[in-house]
Amino acid sequence: MPHQGAPPRRLGRAQRGRATLTALDSGLPLRRHRSSRLLDLLVAVGEALERAVDPEVAAWTVLSALTAGEGLGFNRAFFLLAQDGELRGYLGVGPRSREEAFKVWAELSHRQVRPLALIGTPDATAIGVERQRHARTLVELSLPSPHSCPSWRRAFVAHANHPERCVRHWVEVLDSRALVVIPLLADDGPWGVVLADNFVTAAPVYLGTLEAAESLAHVLRAAVERTSLLRRLREEEQRRVATEHATTLLATARSLTHELVNPLSIAGGTARELAASPPADPSTLVRRLGVIAEAIGRIEEHVARLAEGLAGRANGTVTCEMDLGALAERVVERFRPLAVKRQVRLVCYRPAREVRVRGNPEIGERCVETLLANALTACQGHRGEVQAAVSEEGEWARLQIADNGPPLEPELARNPFSGEMSMRRSSSGLGLASLRALAEAMGGKVDYDQIDAPWVRFALLLRRWS
């Protein structure tokens, strides 16, 4: 990412004429930027900040606007943020020395790069590099007790003889002849400070530029507050999902242990008993051997399911934002020819608006395919109906597949997701067990009921995206 800090554009004769005026209140030359250009700049920065989800990107965007030649044209700019009782250097943009400035500006000019055009496509890696480049200066600019700074209300230009110690500190660290200081205040003291200067070009700072810089600094504050909040929410969400996954894993571990240890105990224990006390009756021996064989068969089935589930997790179940309604419609359309062939009515109900959920589109499709395939198989030969419906339930979104085929066998209905029994629909219970594993891998769950006879309902529930 190129450095900013390109020299400001030269102004036309008429503008130079206006520059000779002096603002009474600030002591600065009264040369205002053309309002349309400033408006364009604010609009461009505002649009870029709307997309920013990271405080560092937000800070870089505004500092870039301050330093870009087609922006406010400062040679360099720094942002200091009050954190943990300190006013810490957060980010800097621009060259570190005159030599570096000439080299970088020449390169920018040669490559015809317009730094302001880059704010729409921030590069987090490059921003990190920029932060590292200025790391030493940022540390030096930091103040251990920001409350010692007076509560300035407005931006100003400071010099080496400034009465306030903290300002003299910044001027000294930056070796600046005229340092723009833009304070950003919280209720109980400084929230942050933006510093900028023209240490290479020594270009004067005009009142209009100062006012524009102040506007940008306030936009920066709003963006940093918003993105910081967003980041905290994101981190909390990640912690919550991790906790839920841990809980799910614990429940899975308990369930698997139970499912594996029981048949292992039966097989091993019965074998030991046979060895310790062989039955005289051959039919008893055969029956007990049958018990062992049945237990081993269950173990094999559980191990296969475990392997499948683990493989699913090892695939890296990366979740993202997705539209559950669109997913449902997509899969339903894929099954429509099969439904027609089997003379089953297939309908899909979904809200007109998007139903955003956290999930994995590929895995989500596999889940819906499993449910639809089962439902269509169930209705085969009955001229039945299969309904796919998407709805929202608080923090969950439900994708339900209902069919009016024959009900589940009572044994299977007790826990259709256990994988211990075959479905009565020529499909396999193993498929439903996998469905549960896949749903859980996305942080979701599965549900089943047939309380509204003759409808048999299976549902995939995923967390709504927030």
Partner: protein, 121 residues
């Protein structure tokens, strides 16, 4: 002298059959139940000296039955026998007199039953 009666409560019929064989050979009177309701019914008949209880009984919880039995028969020893060792950390299981992790080797379970009977004698 009457044989001590052990009531095994587990939803696995295969395990119950194993317990029947193994404990009958040790001269115990063995009773079995596959669920909470049948366990209550058997307990209602009386004569049970020790219970061996699984924690997961299908959709029901053995811990619920543990609390119920201990409330009604505080002196009746109960051995929790389950597949999952970490239930020991669950304070609900502390009411039990012994805790055994299920295994194909019934030595620990036999020992736990014997000790419970000796303690309650």
């Amino acid at each position: 002298m009457t044989k001590p009666c052990v009531l095994f409560i587990d939803d696995e019929e295969g395990l119950l059959e194993l317990y029947r064989t193994a404990f009958a050979r040790l001269d115990y009177d063995v009773a079995t139940a596959t669920g909470i309701d049948s366990a209550r019914a058997r307990l209602g008949q009386g004569g049970v000296d020790v219970i061996v209880l699984d924690i997961r009984l299908g959709e029901a919880s053995g811990l619920q039955l543990l609390r119920e039995v201990k409330a009604a028969h505080p002196k009746l020893p109960i051995v929790l026998c389950t597949a999952y060792a970490r239930y020991q950390d669950d304070f609900s299981s502390w009411l039990a007199d012994a805790y055994v992790v299920k295994s194909s080797d019934l030595t620990d379970l036999k020992l736990a039953v014997k000790r419970c009977l000796e303690a309650s004698a």
